[in-house]
């Protein structure tokens, strides 16, 4: 590993070394970093977060002490008349002056800031918001992309293995048999683990308590390959991972252990029931362990993959074996590289194994390729989505901070203009200009540091809030850490320079004579302020434009006609297998009885069953329409669903032609079908499909079309119309009951559960949720960008308005005399107001023009994150500038009104 890289902590530490004197740093820097890195690695290996925190505390204290001591040596050397003077000094100016000057500046700065508490608080608030926004997004980015997974040993040795095709156009899961092959036949890895992070819902019971929990199915070596040590008990053994359904054991998460067992030390060896089967608890995972990445929400319980047939009998044997005609890719695979093996060598090894599989098992593995990534946190597509979003947010908050900085710079300029006399006097009695600049910069430094502290505190609260906006289930604590503190500190320093430099130089560069004679203010200051206001307005226009585009995109996602209705629909998923319903006929009878009960519930308008619900996976089949030859190549791919008669009514899907099924047809499972418009158009263009037949590959008898319904959205938002064939009845495994309710579906969950269990108390309810949740997951990514960007866009607009208001107010105060003269020689109040307003509006106009140009240049960058509108949305491009102009004019109104109230007598007397 090159010396420049390494974990973020090391990078931060390297950065912190700037506090040391340069010579000492050159001499010792690398060794300090080496020791720090050693300790950091060591702590990581032992996997304690607390340890890392302590490391940081001691390291920072140590650095401060070392820096002080080393600087003192140098300073002392200067005073004792050492051979070399290490500080730049003129005659009679030793290093002591530099330090003393700084302390004096500090004291002056604090004193003058205290004297103007309103200004100080406003500046701190503005900077705090700007830096806080940055610290928040940085916390997010840090947690998502840099923090190593807790408790996992040497995470840099881990790789993730994906299935793909020749073109590498996707990154998919593997099948379990393939995983076993790679695990047992590779020559590149120290260990290969598999897991399914798709949680299964469990009903958990002990003698005392019942409850629900989520479990992951993992290979027996899951924890061992990750190098995690149990908090209690042990992990799984190879025997527990070798035969299906024989060893019912479980490992608990620390949280679940605390909630359910009150951290009882005797939990190991105890039993509990999971979905009605008795499992033995063998171990407890350490606190904070959450697998390999922050994107998967960690489960309550881990069970060996081999318990699959017991725990979710709904799914078939094909999950664990190669079953003829079936294939399921469902496990995520992570491997630990063997000593000295590079990722590319490991990939070649995998590729060789994959082609062996392809030869041996053509049905399951034809065209299959594998690849690996060294990033184990998530799969590449999720990661790139999040990366994109994070970059966008970082850019947005950087703009917000720039606006805040411009704002404070304006405030400082205005403040300096009221202190011109003071500064003029200091210059007149012999202070160097550098000295004055330093003093003014010290002031902005103090402000920025306080702002940074405020921002850091804001991010404590806001990082958690921001995490909830993410489109992924980020169930982890987002806490600002030391890197965030360092980041906020760096931001403060940069801000201090950015917002302090211009005012400091400008206000110290003045004609002493002119000032002392009480001359007029400097026109260059107005120009500087004008430029800052224009920049602010322009940047906030870009941000507001972006946020409006995101909001409109979210709106259009909501407004899109899905082809069905999702409000007030409740889904109850039930598992019938192994509950006496293996026989199809009986299962359908159960459904009919359950539907009757559900329909009878108060507040339930209608009820139906369906195998598939929208946005939740797909089921397709090859069908040949009547009229085409029944041979290879003439089939069409149809999306499938099997439903009860009232499904279309319950989902609000319009029936276009013909009829739906009857109940008798459903129970008998007659060979009938309802198809959607797209299928009809594709199968029999220009003809009525009613009465025609569709043939499946298996079975000679076709199904006869009895009805046509409108197209709908089945798999993802914005998809092109897909074919869909509805068959009567439901297969006897997993059933989704769909209810149309009056009012909030959430409030009907309990009653619906009772109704299903009342039909047969032995069936297992897998889950119950409002149908809208399917959709929410789908639009989640649009919502995230819309809400976060709007939040920051609003903040930016607010800051820009405050800035403009501040500038205009100062302008009026400064020009009181001029206005007084104007009024005295006969200007009307309206005239005065117009002059002031026009000054402000002119700035806003220029800013808007610049901002529009900037928006045109940048909106293309967010094109891929928008849904349903183009980034050059005309309405937005007109409305936002107009609104912004109105808002900026409003901000100028108050100062303008104040100008009209200037009493010429008072104004002229005041000088």
């Amino acid at each position: 590993m090159p010396a420049q890289e390494g974990p973020l902590s090391v990078v931060c530490y390297r950065f912190l070394l700037v506090v040391l004197p340069r010579r000492f740093r050159a001499e010792a820097g690398e060794q300090l970093i080496q020791v720090f890195t050693d300790e950091y690695r060591d702590l990581r290996r032992r996997g304690t977060r607390l340890g890392t925190a302590r490391l940081w505390v001691t390291s920072i204290l140590d650095l401060v002490a070392t820096a002080l001591a080393e600087h003192m040596i140098r300073i002392r050397r200067v005073f004792s008349g050492g051979k070399r003077s290490l500080l730049p000094s003129g005659p009679g100016r030793g290093g002591r002056h530099l330090v003393e000057d700084f302390i004096m500046d500090l004291r002056l700065a604090v004193r003058s800031l205290i004297k103007t508490p309103g200004f100080t608080l406003l500046a701190i608030l503005i900077l705090g918001l700007g830096i806080g926004a940055n610290a928040t997004i940085f916390t997010l980015a840090n947690t998502l992309f840099f923090e190593p997974p807790p408790h996992v040993a040497n995470p840099d040795e881990l790789v993730r293995i994906f299935r793909t095709n020749e073109e590498r156009s996707f990154a998919g899961s593997l099948s379990y048999p393939d995983y076993v092959h790679y695990r047992d036949h590779n020559s590149a890895f120290d260990g290969v683990l598999a897991y399914s992070s798709d949680p299964i819902a469990l009903t958990v019971g002990t003698e005392e308590v019942r409850g629900s929990a989520e479990a992951w199915r993992v290979s027996y070596n899951y924890f061992d390959v990750l190098g995690v040590r149990p908090a209690l008990g042990r992990w799984f053994t190879p025997e527990e991972g070798s035969t299906p359904g024989t060893h019912l054991v479980a490992v608990l998460s620390h949280g679940f252990w605390s909630r359910f067992f009150g951290r009882s030390q005797e939990v190991v060896g105890q039993t509990m029931t999971l979905n009605g089967h008795t499992f033995t608890i063998v171990g407890v995972a350490p606190q904070g362990f959450r697998g390999t990445g922050p994107l998967e929400s960690p489960p309550d319980i881990w069970v060996p993959i081999m318990t699959q047939p017991v725990i979710t009998p709904v799914d078939g044997d094909w999950l664990l074996e190669r079953v003829e005609g079936s294939i399921s890719h469902w496990v995520a695979v992570i491997a630990r590289l063997g000593p000295g093996i590079t990722p590319s060598a490991a990939e070649s090894n995998l590729t060789a194994m994959a082609s062996h599989l392809e030869e041996t098992y053509p049905f399951w593995s034809e065209g299959m390729r594998v690849f690996l990534t060294t990033n184990v946190a998530s799969n590449p597509s999720t990661r790139s989505l999040l990366m994109k979003m994070t970059w966008l947010l970082l850019a947005v908050v950087a703009l917000v901070l720039l606006i805040a900085t411009a704002n404070v710079a304006i405030l400082l300029l205005a403040r300096a203009s009221t202190r011109r006399k003071d500064i003029g006097v200091r210059l007149a009695i012999g202070a160097g200009r550098g000295r004055v600049v330093r003093q003014l910069l010290t002031e902005s430094l103090v402000l920025s540091l306080l702002g940074g502290a405020a921002g850091f505190m804001i991010s404590f609260w806001s990082a958690g809030a921001a995490g909830r906006f993410l489109p992924v289930n980020l169930a982890l604590d987002l806490e600002p850490s030391v890197p965030v503190l360092v980041f906020a500190l760096g931001m403060s320093l940069a801000t201090a320079v950015l917002c302090g430099l211009l005012p400091a130089f400008q206000s110290s560069d003045l004609d002493v004579n002119e000032v002392l004679k009480g001359g007029r203010s400097d026109p260059r200051q107005h120009r500087a302020r004008g430029v800052l206001v224009v920049a602010q307005v322009a940047m906030s226009l870009v941000l507001v434009m972006g946020s409006i585009l995101f909001v409109r995109s979210l709106q259009s996602a909501h407004a899109v006609d899905l082809g069905f209705e999702m409000e007030n629909r409740l889904v109850v998923a039930v598992n019938l297998r192994n509950h006496g319903y293996d026989e199809a006929e009986r299962a359908r009878e159960f459904q009919v009885r359950a539907l009757d009960r559900l329909r009878a519930l108060p507040g339930v308008r209608s009820a139906a069953t369906a195998r598939m619900t929208p946005f939740r996976g797909n089921w397709t089949s090859e069908v040949t329409p009547e009229g085409r030859p029944r041979e290879e190549g003439s089939e069409m791919i149809a999306g499938m669903n099997s439903v009860s008669p009232d499904y279309f009514e319950t989902m609000g899907i319009p029936l276009l032609e013909g009829r739906s099924f009857t109940r008798t047809e459903m129970v008998r499972q007659d060979d009938l079908a309802v198809i959607n418009r797209k299928t009809a158009e594709e199968a029999w263009p220009g003809e009525s499909p009613l009465g025609k037949y569709l043939y499946f590959r298996s079975g000679e008898e076709g199904v006869q079309v009895v009805g046509v319904v409108e197209n709908g959205t089945y798999y993802e938002l914005g998809e092109p119309p897909h074919t869909q064939v509805y068959l009567p009845g439901v297969l006897p495994f997993r059933v989704n009951f769909v209810l149309r309710t009056a009012g909030d579906p959430q409030s009907h969950i309990a009653a619906a559960r009772d109704a299903v269990l009342g039909t047969d108390p032995n069936v297992a309810i897998i889950d119950a949720w409002p149908l809208e949740r399917n959709f929410q997951r789908e639009v989640g990514r649009f919502r995230t960008s819309a809400s976060l960007v709007s939040l920051f866009g609003g903040l930016a607009l607010l800051l820009a308005l405050v800035g403009l208001y501040g500038v205009m107010s100062y302008l009026v105060v400064e020009r009181t005399k001029e206005i007084g003269v104007r009024v005295a020689i006969g200007a009307s109040r309206a005239n005065v107001a117009r002059v002031v307003l026009w000054r402000g509006i002119r700035l806003a106009l220029i800013g808007t023009a610049v901002g529009l140009a900037g928006s045109l240049a940048t909106v293309r960058l967010i094109e891929s994150m928008l849904y349903g509108i183009t980034p050059y949305d005309a309405g937005t491009f007109v409305a936002v500038p107009v609104l912004l102009l109105l808002a900026t004019s409003a901000a100028c109104l108050v100062p303008a009104r104040r100008a009209t109230r200037v009493d010429p007598m008072v104004a002229l007397r005041s000088e």
Binding site: Q31, Q34, V35, D38, L63
Partner: protein, 119 residues
């Protein structure tokens, strides 16, 4: 510089330098290993970090009590600097230890601390 310092000029040692000498009384060690041992010896009284460690090592090297050394066989990292005691360093550490032992036995004879050996 030129004068060879006598042992008496060098003792008593401050606690951290003494702990470093103790840590190096065995085989040569690199920075982090020294730091770990020192922190172990010092217990919770003081935790030293990389900066303090480096300054101490520099001071001890300036006094010729320790010197650079080659790492043990099999250590691969070129950048890691190893240290070991010089002959002088060993004598100074021993002198300091004896001085401390003397103090301890005095403390015992004044019954400041229980005399465990005599029980």
């Amino acid at each position: 510089m030129g004068r060879t310092p006598s042992i008496d000029d060098l003792v008593p040692l401050r606690p951290v330098p003494f702990a470093v000498l103790l840590a190096l009384s065995g085989e040569p060690l690199h920075g982090y290993a020294i730091m770990q041992q020192v922190n172990e010896t010092m217990g919770s009284r003081a935790i030293i970090g990389p900066g303090t460690l480096y300054r101490t090592l520099k001071e001890l090297r300036g006094k010729r009590l320790i010197e650079h050394a080659k790492g043990p066989r099999g250590s691969t990292d070129e950048r890691r600097q190893y240290y070991r005691l010089t002959g002088l360093g060993r004598r100074v550490a021993a002198t300091e230890a004896e001085r401390m032992a003397g103090l301890v036995s005095q403390a015992k004879s004044y019954r400041l601390i229980p005399d465990r050996g005599g029980r």
